[in-house]
């Protein structure tokens, strides 16, 4: 089924002519963006360029002034009621995790399952929640803890487990590595990549983290001047002469990330076995 769908439409998310404004302030104007099936698309842009607003528009939390948004071939702006089925095919990780604070981690993951598939037995729901929690790289004793008992990185992983609860086709990540230490951030990147490959996900990833962009993103879209000003691989973006893009990727941080990425690549090509022999998630 999914293979047929992939052939049918190579584009998972299609946005055209999107306009968003808050009062006088126009955030997006005639913005267009295509996200391909099975890619990790990084979205970057300065603060206030509307990255989060773009994500909220796609998942239907923000009603745009104009434009068309299609996710997996279904338009999400016409019809208030019909978008329920599409909601079960995406998962969202909010910036702070947005876990329900009165439920345990396992119960958090079970919420979407119970909401969309009430026929599934409670015991099976718990089993599903548990393996999703382990897939997200949490230790097993985290399952019955409350969000307030978890560290920031664990909250993000728990949020990821909930986002994956329904086996979505599309995953939205809003700054997944913000606030994590470099080791935790690198692990989260590896986890995202691993899950994307294993589960065949399309990932829409908002980030400020240059390492994330270099390590796991197939393409990067740059938001500026109310539009997507460029989209492509990082070498392609570097070939453009937009000042913001040049400053972003060629600033001191951008260069450091590029250098470390190049080192990684060299190591991988020299020792192909080592990356494979690594544990699944850790």
């Amino acid at each position: 089924m999914s293979a047929a769908r992939e052939k049918e439409c190579d584009v998972a998310i299609r946005i055209s002519g999107l306009t968003n404004s808050f009062g006088e302030q126009v955030v997006h104007e005639d913005l267009s963006l295509d996200v391909r099936h099975g890619e990790i698309l990084g979205v970057v842009g300065g603060s206030g360029t509307g990255k989060s607003v773009l994500m909220r528009s796609i998942i239907g939390l923000q009603r745009p002034d104009a434009g068309r948004i299609e996710v997996l071939g279904e338009s999400i702006l016409d019809g208030e009621e019909e978008d329920v089925s599409i909601r079960s095919r995406w998962g969202v990780l909010f910036q702070g995790g947005a876990l329900f604070s009165t439920l345990t981690v396992a119960e958090n993951v079970m919420v979407p399952l119970a909401e969309f598939y009430p026929h599934i037995d409670r015991s099976l729901r718990r089993e599903i929640a548990l393996y999703k929690i382990a897939l997200s790289g949490l230790p097993e004793d985290a399952a019955d803890k409350y969000p307030s008992e978890l560290s920031g990185g664990m909250k993000k992983r728990a949020g990821l487990a909930r986002a994956l609860a329904l086996d979505p086709d599309v995953l939205f990540l809003d700054e997944p590595t913000a606030g994590l230490d470099p080791i935790g951030a690198a692990r989260f990147d590896a986890l995202t990549r691993e899950l994307q490959r294993t589960l065949g996900l399309t990932v829409f990833l908002i980030t400020h983290d240059l390492d994330t962009l270099h390590e796991i993103c197939d393409r990067v879209a740059v938001l500026a001047d109310r539009k997507v000003i460029a989209i492509g691989t990082i070498p392609e973006l570097l070939a453009t002469d937009h000042p913001w893009i040049q400053e972003y990727f060629n600033g001191p941080r951008g260069r450091a990330a590029a250098v470390s990425h190049a080192d990684e690549e060299r190591k991988k090509t020299r020792l192909p076995a080592s990356s494979k022999s690594r544990g699944f998630l850790r």
Binding site: Y117, I120, L124, L135, S148
Partner: protein, 370 residues
């Protein structure tokens, strides 16, 4: 949505049965399949996935679980399918037990014990909190420049001025109700004229201040708890401490000062409005003209009644503000805590106000202010 998920069991003599899955094994189709798979009562030697269609992690989990429980092999699995089965297999932590829930009796007993400890703890905590407040007052006497006038005046407005409307309306209605009920009862003895005594003494000595205290606890005590509680959650209180600002001085003292000073004013206002309500009813129903009502009030209400009310009011204000600020400062962890602490603040404040009111009633009668 493609072929529905199904399976068939095929006997194969001695080597055991073969279970063949067919159709799409994904989260949309799995509920029925899970129930039927649990009813299989014969050993399965082999799982054949040749006819299976699309498979997601939930389908992979079902297949993996069956293979694990029956200790059998899976054959003819697609490449993506085997990747998923391998992934969920590595993530199998289903043997961890859900947290143990004790039975009803021990839970009830534990609940009572916990509530008792919480009550005792919060009494001690309030006492400690009061101590911290007194200390910060003393240090302010030494450095009066640190007193937060702006915040205090703002709380004067929030606690006092903004409450005038609702306290006034409530008091007016209470005055009417007392006069009306009193008139009905006293008429049976032909003593309607004593309605004035009833209204005057009851509102000035007891109800004016008491009802105001309940209203202030509901309006301002809850607001104090919620404001400070939210500031605790967002780490504003911690930020204050690191900058060297004492939260008791910056947050608690202005609120307590406002409540202590506003309560007598609001209480006095409430007494007056309640008497206006009573006078209004006496005028309409009992035909006692307002001028006569005022003269009678002066005759029958001793000035000590007014003192009693005015002595109680600031104490009630202190209790309400202390309970609100204390509960707000106790907020930890999550948003639910803000709600439960706000409730606790109001309940605690009203409870203590009423208990203390009873003490005051006995005390003032004993000292001859009855």
């Amino acid at each position: 949505m493609g072929a529905p998920a199904d399976f068939a069991i095929e006997e194969r003599g001695e080597s055991g049965a073969v279970l063949r899955f067919s159709g799409n094994l994904d989260i949309t189709t799995i509920a029925q399949l899970d129930k039927r798979l649990k009813q299989i009562d014969q050993p399965v030697a082999l799982i054949d996935m040749a006819d299976a269609g699309h498979i997601d992690t939930v389908g992979a989990w079902i297949v993996y679980r069956l293979a694990r429980d029956q200790r059998c092999e899976i054959v003819n699995l697609s490449e993506s399918g085997s990747r998923l089965v391998e992934a969920v297999g590595r993530s199998d932590i289903s043997d961890i037990e859900p947290p143990h829930r004790p039975n009803v009796l021990s839970r009830t007993l534990a609940g009572i014990g916990e509530a008792t400890m919480t009550a005792l703890g919060s009494m001690l905590g309030m006492l400690g909190f009061f101590g911290a407040l007194v200390r910060s007052v003393i240090s302010l006497v030494a450095h009066p420049g640190r007193f937060r006038w702006a915040a205090t005046v703002r709380h004067f407005e929030l606690v006092g001025v903004s409450a005038l409307g609702i306290v006034g309306l409530m008091s007016f209605l209470i005055g009417i109700v007392i006069a009306q009920q009193g008139a009905v009862q006293l008429r049976q003895f032909g003593a309607e004229v004593f309605t004035v005594n009833l209204v005057g003494r009851l509102t000035i000595r007891e109800l004016g201040v008491l009802m105001t205290a309940i209203m202030v606890a509901g309006r301002s005590g809850s607001a104090f708890a919620a404001q400070i509680g939210t500031m605790k959650l967002t780490e504003e209180v911690d930020a204050m401490r690191t900058i060297g600002v004492s939260p008791v001085e910056a947050l608690v003292l202005p609120r307590v000062t406002a409540a202590v000073l506003m309560m007598p004013l609001l209480g006095f206002y409430s007494m007056i409005v309640a008497m206006i309500g009573g006078a209004f009813l006496c005028w309409i129903v009992l035909e006692i003209p307002p001028a006569t009502f005022v003269v009678r009030i002066q005759e029958v209400v001793p000035i000590t009644d007014f003192y009693v009310g005015m002595i109680k009011a600031p104490v009630f204000g202190l209790i309400i503000a202390l309970a609100g600020c204390y509960q707000g400062m106790q907020v930890r962890g999550n948003a639910e805590e803000v709600g439960s602490r706000t409730t606790a603040a109001v309940v605690q404040a009203i409870f203590m106000v009423i208990v203390l009111d009873a003490f005051f009633a006995v005390f003032f009668t004993e000292v001859g202010w009855g």
